[in-house]
C-alpha cells in the first residue's frame, strides 16, 4: 500500500500544507501514520509552529523586531513639513 511507502520526504510538504488549509480526508489518513511514528516529523511540526508564532508576533503593533533602524531625517522633515502645511 502506498501509505507504507511514504517517506519523510513525502510527508513534509503535507505537514506544511495542513497549516494552510484543511487537507482532504484521504491525505489526512496518509499523514497520520508517519506522524505517529516519526519523531523527526514532530520536531518539524514544532519548528513550523515556532515560525508561525514568531511571524504573527512580528505583525503586532508593539513588535520590536528591527530595533536600530530609523527613518531618514530627510523623509521625516518632508513629512513634518507636509503636516504643518496641510493640517
Amino acid at each position: 500500500m502506498a501509505i507504507f511507502k511514504m517517506t519523510c520526504k513525502d510527508v513534509y510538504p503535507l505537514i506544511s500544507e495542513e497549516m494552510d488549509h484543511t487537507i482532504s480526508f484521504s491525505r489526512r489518513v496518509r499523514l497520520k501514520m508517519p506522524l505517529a511514528i516519526c519523531n523527526l516529523c514532530q520536531a518539524y511540526i514544532r519548528q513550523l509552529q515556532t515560525l508561525r508564532n514568531l511571524a504573527r508576533n512580528l505583525g503586532k503593533e508593539n513588535s520590536q523586531a528591527i530595533e536600530k533602524k530609523t527613518l531618514s531625517p530627510d523623509t521625516k522633515e518632508k513629512i513634518q513639513k507636509y503636516i504643518k502645511e496641510k493640517n
Binding site: T7, C8, K9, D10, Y12, P13, S16, E17, M19, D20, H21, L40, A43, Y44, R46, Q47, L48, Q49, T50, L51, R52, N53, L54, A55, R56, N57, L58, G59, E61, S63, Q64, A65, I66, E67, K69, T70, L71, S72, T75, K76, K78, I79, Q80, Y82, I83, K84, K86, N87
Partner: protein, 186 residues
Amino acid sequence: MSEETLEPEKWVENYADMLYRYTLVLVKGPDVADELVQVTFFAALKSQHTFAGKSTEKTWLFGIFKHKTMDRFRSSKKNLNLDITDADADRIQFDTTGHMTPSPNNWNVDSEKATENKELAQVLAKCMNGLSEKFHHIFVLKEIEGLSSEKICKEFNLKPTNLWVMLHRARNQLKLCMESNWLTKE
C-alpha cells in the same frame, strides 16, 4: 469629548521610526518602507475625521498603516511574477533514504514561548529579508497579515497547489536560515 485626541504635529516624532521598523518587516527594501510611511501619514492627515477617540492615536495610525500596506500588496501584484521557477527550488536536503538532512530538531525553544524572545524575532525578520520578493510577499500575507489561503489565491490569481508549494519552500528556507543564524543544534 473623548480623552484621546490627534496631534499630527507630533506624529513624526512619536511614530515615524516605529512605523518604519514595522514596514521593514512587511516589505522588502528601505525605499518601499520609506514610501509607505509617508503614504500612511499623508492618508492619516486626510482621515482625521474618522478618528472617534475610541482607540489610541497609535492604534488608529497603525490601522491606517495596515490598510496602506495591503493596498501596496494589491498594487504590486501587477509587477510580481508568482510563477514557480527553478530558482524557487526547495532548499531542504534529503539523504538517499528520503530523510531530511540535517534532521529537524527542537531548536531548544518552546514554540509558544518563542514569541517572548526578541532576539529570535529579529533573526526571523532578518531571514525574511533573504527570501525572494515573491516568497516574502506570500509569507507576509499568510503568516503576518493572517490572510486565508483562499483569499491570497483569489487576490493573486494563484492555484492553491502553487501557493502551498511556495509557502512550504519559504518556510523551509526560513527554517534553514534560522538554524544557521541563531539556533544551536542539539
